[in-house]
C-alpha cells in the first residue's frame, strides 16, 4: 500500500498514535472501564479501580521478565512455579532474628534468580530449547514443593512482605509503587542501555548478533535470571496480598504473563516489542477477569469466557504484522 502524503503535522501525530500498540491497548482499557461502570455501579469506583491496578501490578511484574525473555527470542514457562516457590519458601527463609523481614526477601529473591540462572544455563550452554528447559524446571519445582510443603498452606509473618501487601504510602498501594519502579527500570534497560539493545539483537538473529561481537550466552543468562527475579518479586506481592502460600498459588500467572506480553504487541518470535505495551496489556487482562467476576457465571463458564476473550483480543490487537 502506498502511504498517502502526510497532510499535516497533527494528522501524522494522530496516525502515529493509532498505529501505536501500547496506546491502543490503553484506549481499549479506558473504554472497557467506562463501559463497565455504566452497567455495574461498583466497577468504576476509585477503590475498585485501585484494586484492579494492584492485581495488575503482580501480572505486570511477572510479565516484565517474560517480556525481556520473549524479546530475546525465548519463553519462560517456569514463572508460575517460581512464584509458588517464593510463596512457600519465604516463611522458611525468614529467620526470627530479623524482625524487619528484609533478610527473607533478599534470600527468596536470590533463590528465584538462581532458578532463572539455571534456566539460562540450560538454554545458553546445554542448548536446550527454552520452552523445554523452563517447562522441565517448572515440573521439577512443583515436585520439590510438594515434598517441602507437603500440600499444606503456609502463612506469612514476614513484616516487610505484609507491609508490601497492605501499605499505602501517600495513599498509593505499595505494590503499585513497586510496579512503577519496575516499569522505569525495565523501560530504561530495554531502550536506553546497550544490554537492552543486545536483547533485541539476539532475539531477532542470534547468529548475526554473535558475529557482531554480542556475547549471546551471557546475554541469555542475564535474561533468564531477570525473569526468575521478577517472578520472585511478583511472588512476594502475591504473598503480601494473600497472607498465605500454597502449592499452585502461582499457576494462574503463567498464561496471563504470556498473554500480557503478546497483547502488548511484543513479537512472540522475538526481536521486536516493548514493555510499554505489556503494561496496559496487564491492566486489560485484570479488567477482563474483573468483568467476568461481575457477570454471574459458574467457574467453568468464567474460564471459558476468559480464554475466549484472550483469543479474541489477540486476534484483534497487538499481534505482529504478517509478512
Amino acid at each position: 500500500m502506498p502511504a498517502p502524503a502526510s497532510s499535516s503535522a497533527s494528522g501524522s501525530v494522530m496516525r502515529n498514535l493509532l498505529r501505536n500498540g501500547p496506546f491502543l491497548t490503553l484506549l481499549l482499557v479506558a473504554i472497557v472501564w467506562i463501559g463497565a461502570s455504566f452497567f455495574s455501579r461498583g466497577f468504576g469506583t476509585y477503590g475498585h479501580l485501585r484494586y484492579i491496578l494492584e492485581l495488575a501490578s503482580i501480572i505486570g511484574i511477572v510479565a516484565a521478565g517474560q517480556t525481556l525473555v520473549v524479546i530475546g527470542g525465548g519463553i519462560d514457562l517456569s514463572v508460575g512455579a517460581v512464584i509458588t516457590v517464593t510463596a512457600i519458601t519465604l516463611p522458611m527463609l525468614s529467620p526470627a532474628w530479623d524482625p524487619t523481614g528484609i533478610f527473607g526477601i533478599v534470600a527468596v529473591l536470590a533463590l528465584a534468580s538462581l532458578i532463572g540462572l539455571i534456566n539460562g544455563i540450560g538454554a545458553a550452554f546445554l542448548k536446550v530449547p527454552p520452552i523445554i528447559m523452563t517447562l522441565a524446571m517448572a515440573t521439577l519445582l512443583q515436585g520439590f514443593l510438594v515434598i517441602v510443603a507437603g500440600g499444606s498452606a503456609v502463612s506469612v509473618e514476614n513484616a516487610a512482605v505484609i507491609w508490601l501487601g497492605s501499605a499505602r504510602p501517600g495513599g498509593i498501594p505499595a505494590d503499585i509503587l513497586l510496579w512503577v519502579a519496575v516499569m522505569v527500570g525495565v523501560l530504561l534497560l530495554l531502550h536506553r542501555t546497550a544490554t537492552g539493545a543486545r536483547f533485541f539483537a539476539i532475539g531477532a538473529n542470534s547468529i548475526a548478533a554473535r558475529l557482531s561481537g554480542v556475547n549471546v550466552e551471557r546475554t541469555t543468562l542475564l535474561l533468564f535470571t531477570l525473569s526468575g527475579f521478577f517472578a520472585g518479586l511478583a511472588g512476594l506481592l502475591v504473598l503480601g496480598m494473600n497472607r498465605q502460600g500454597y502449592v499452585g498459588i502461582g499457576d494462574p500467572y503463567l498464561l496471563t504473563s504470556i498473554a500480557a506480553v503478546v497483547l502488548g504487541g511484543t513479537s512472540i518470535l522475538g526481536g521486536a516489542g516493548t514493555y510499554a505495551g505489556t503494561i496496559p496489556g496487564s491492566v486489560l487482562l485484570v479488567t477482563i477477569t474483573a468483568l467476568i467476576t461481575v457477570v454471574n457465571a459458574s467457574p467453568g463458564w468464567r474460564n471459558i469466557m476468559f480464554g475466549g476473550l484472550i483469543l479474541i483480543l489477540l486476534l484483534l490487537s497487538g499481534r505482529e504484522k504478517q509478512r
Binding site: A3, R192, A194, I207, A208, L211, S212, G213, A272
Partner: protein
C-alpha cells in the same frame, strides 16, 4: 520481436512498493528456443520483474500474456501450472527432505492416495542426471554443499517440464565444473524449445549463453535487443548508464609491515593444519572452490569456531581466541558471506545494525548516548553513500546497500584486521567498485585485509598474495607477480602448477 510468438510476454508492467516505483512500464517477451538475458544492477528491478512473471507479486499496471492471452490474477500455483518455473537466488529447498522428495515437491505421483515412491524415484532420476548430480536420491538435501543444492533446485524446476524457465543468478554458488554443466543444460533446453530467462552478474557467462538481452536500470528498460554485436563493455554501459571504467582500482603494493596474523598448524572445522600469515598493508586472498574450508578457517581466526593451533599470534595476542568478543577487542572484524542471515539483522533498522558492534562503547553514565549514536549513524551513512532514512529496516535495501551496511558497521571500531567472506557476491557493479576501493585504502592505511572470494578475477586484481584451499588444507600460496586466474584455478583443482619463486 512479435508478441504472438512469445510463450510469455509482459506489456507495460509497473510496480511500486510503499509509494516508490520499482518498475516503470517494462515490456519483455520470452520466446521459445531463446536464451534471454536480464541484466541490471542490484535494485534495478530484476527481482520484482521475476516475481511479477511468476505470479508472486501482482502488477500495479500493465499485463502479462501467455500464448497471447492475458493472464489476470496470476498466482504462483497458476504460473507453475502454466509451465513457468523459477529458480530463485535464495534456495527454497527443505533441508530434511531427500533429493527426490525436494525435486518432486508439490507434484508427487500418487497411488491409492499415497505417494508412489518408486515412481517418484524413476521420474526424479531423469532430471537428476540432467543436472549432473551423482548423490543417491535418498540423500537429505541439508547435507549437500551449497553448489549441489543449487543443482537440486534446478532439477526441481526441470521436473515439471517447464515451457518457461527463469534462472535467477544460478551460478553464484556453483563451482566451475557445475557452472559448465548448467551451461550445457541451458543450451540443450534451448534446442528443445524452452524459453529461458537468465539473470546473472557474470557478463562472460551471459555473452557465451544468451541470444537476446533486456537491460533494466532504475526500473526502466534501457535495452531490449539481440546480443549479437554487443560487447561486454557496451552492456556495462547500458546497466550503469555511463562508462564503467576499470572495475578494479589501480594500486601500488604497500611497504610490508609487521605480521598481524601469524598462525601455524591452525585447524578449525573443515580447515586442517593451515599455516597462514598476513602483514600490515597487505590484502591477502583466500581462493579455491566453494566450500573447501576457507570459511571455517576464517571463522576460527575470528573466535566463532573452536580452533587448535601449533602456534598462533593475531594482532600481537595469543590466538586462537575463545570468543568473537575477544577477537573484536583484539582488532578483528568479520563480514560474512551470507549477509541476510549472518551479517545483518534484517528486520531491524539500518541504524540499529550500524550501531550493533559499537554497543557499549557509546555509553554515557551507563546509558546509550543517543546523540553520539545519531552522529555515528549519519557519519557512516554519508561515508558509504547509504541513501534515505536510516530508521528503515535494513531488508528494505538492495543487496549492494545491505552489504555496505554489513561492512560499515565495523568502521567505528577501527579494526586492524578485516576478514571478508565473498563481500561482492550478488552485489551490483558500482558497489563492487566501492568495496574494492575500500579494501585497498584500508591496506594503504597499514591495516590487513583477508579476502575469501569465489570470484577469481577479484583475487587476481586486488591481492598481494593468494592462498588456495583444497579439501580443508592450504595447498598453495601464490606471491605477487605470479597471481593469475590459471595459477589459482590450477591449485584449486589440484592440477600440478609449476612452483613459482616467491
Amino acid at each position: 520481436m512479435a508478441g504472438s510468438t512469445a510463450f510469455l510476454a509482459a506489456k507495460g508492467l509497473s510496480k511500486g512498493f510503499f509509494g516508490n516505483p520499482v518498475l516503470k512500464d517494462v515490456s519483455i517477451s520470452l520466446v521459445p528456443g531463446r536464451v534471454h538475458a536480464l541484466l541490471g544492477e542490484n535494485g534495478a528491478g530484476k527481482s520484482t520483474l521475476i516475481n511479477l512473471l511468476s505470479g508472486s507479486l501482482a502488477p500495479d499496471g500493465g499485463e502479462i500474456l501467455m500464448d497471447g492471452q492475458p493472464l489476470s490474477r496470476l498466482n504462483p500455483a497458476g504460473a507453475r501450472n502454466a509451465g513457468i518455473a523459477v529458480v530463485q537466488q535464495e534456495l527454497s529447498l527443505a533441508p530434511d527432505l531427500s533429493i527426490a522428495e525436494n525435486i518432486g515437491l508439490g507434484a508427487y505421483p500418487r497411488r491409492l492416495g499415497f505417494v508412489d515412491y518408486p515412481e517418484l524415484a524413476r521420474r526424479t532420476a531423469e532430471v537428476r542426471d540432467l543436472v549432473g548430480l551423482d548423490e543417491p536420491l535418498a540423500t537429505p538435501v541439508g547435507t549437500l554443499a551449497l553448489g549441489r543444492r543449487q543443482m537440486v533446485e534446478i532439477a526441481k524446476a526441470l521436473f515439471r517440464k517447464p515451457r518457461v524457465l527463469i534462472l535467477d543468478e544460478p551460478t553464484s554458488s556453483l563451482s566451475a565444473h557445475e557452472a559448465g554443466i548448467l551451461s550445457a543444460l541451458v543450451l540443450r533446453l534451448k534446442q528443445e524449445g524452452v524459453a529461458v530467462l537468465y539473470i546473472s552478474h557474470r557478463l562472460n557467462e551471459v555473452m557465451a549463453l544468451c541470444d537476446y538481452v533486456t537491460v533494466l536500470k532504475d526500473g526502466v528498460c534501457t535495452a531490449d535487443q539481440p546480443l549479437a554485436g554487443v560487447d561486454a563493455e557496451g552492456l556495462v554501459r547500458l546497466m550503469v548508464g555511463r562508462d564503467a571504467g576499470d572495475l578494479f582500482p589501480k594500486w601500488e603494493p604497500n611497504a610490508a609491515g609487521d605480521l598481524l596474523v601469524d598462525v601455524q598448524g591452525f585447524s578449525s572445522g573443515m580447515a586442517r593444519d593451515v599455516s597462514f600469515t598476513a602483514r600490515r598493508g597487505e590484502v591477502v586472498g583466500i581462493g579455491g572452490l566453494v566450500g573447501q574450508g576457507q570459511e571455517d578457517f576464517v571463522l576460527g581466526l575470528y573466535g566463532a569456531l573452536a580452533a587448535q593451533a601449533a602456534s598462533a599470534t593475531i594482532c600481537g595476542q595469543k590466538a586462537p581466541f575463545s570468543s568473537v568478543g575477544a577477537a573484536t577487542r583484539a582488532g578483528l572484524a568479520y563480514v560474512p558471506a551470507d549477509r541476510k542471515h549472518e551479517g545483518l539483522i534484517l528486520p531491524h533498522s539500518i541504524a540499529s545494525n550500524l550501531i550493533l558492534p559499537s554497543l557499549g562503547r557509546l555509553n554515557r553514565a551507563g546509558m546509550r548516548d543517543r546523540s553520539a549514536e545519531r552522529n555515528l549513524v549519519s557519519d557512516l551513512a554519508r561515508r558509504l553513500t547509504i541513501k534515505g532514512d536510516t530508521a528503515r529496516p535494513v531488508q528494505a535495501l538492495s543487496g549492494g546497500n545491505q552489504q555496505k551496511v554489513a561492512l560499515a558497521k565495523w568502521l567505528p571500531l577501527a579494526p586492524s584486521v578485516l576478514l571478508l567472506n565473498d563481500p561482492t557476491r550478488g552485489v551490483d557493479i558500482d558497489t563492487k567498485r566501492e568495496i574494492y576501493l575500500m579494501l585497498r585504502s584500508f591496506a594503504a592505511e597499514g591495516k590487513t585485509v583477508v579476502l575469501i572470494s569465489s570470484d577469481t578475477p577479484e583475487l587476481v586484481h586486488l591481492c598481494d598474495r593468494v592462498t588456495v584451499f583444497r579439501e580443508g588444507r592450504a595447498v598453495a600460496t601464490i606471491a605477487r607477480g605470479h597471481i593469475t586466474e590459471e595459477a589459482i584455478v590450477g591449485a584449486a583443482m589440484g592440477v600440478e602448477v609449476r612452483e613459482q619463486a616467491a
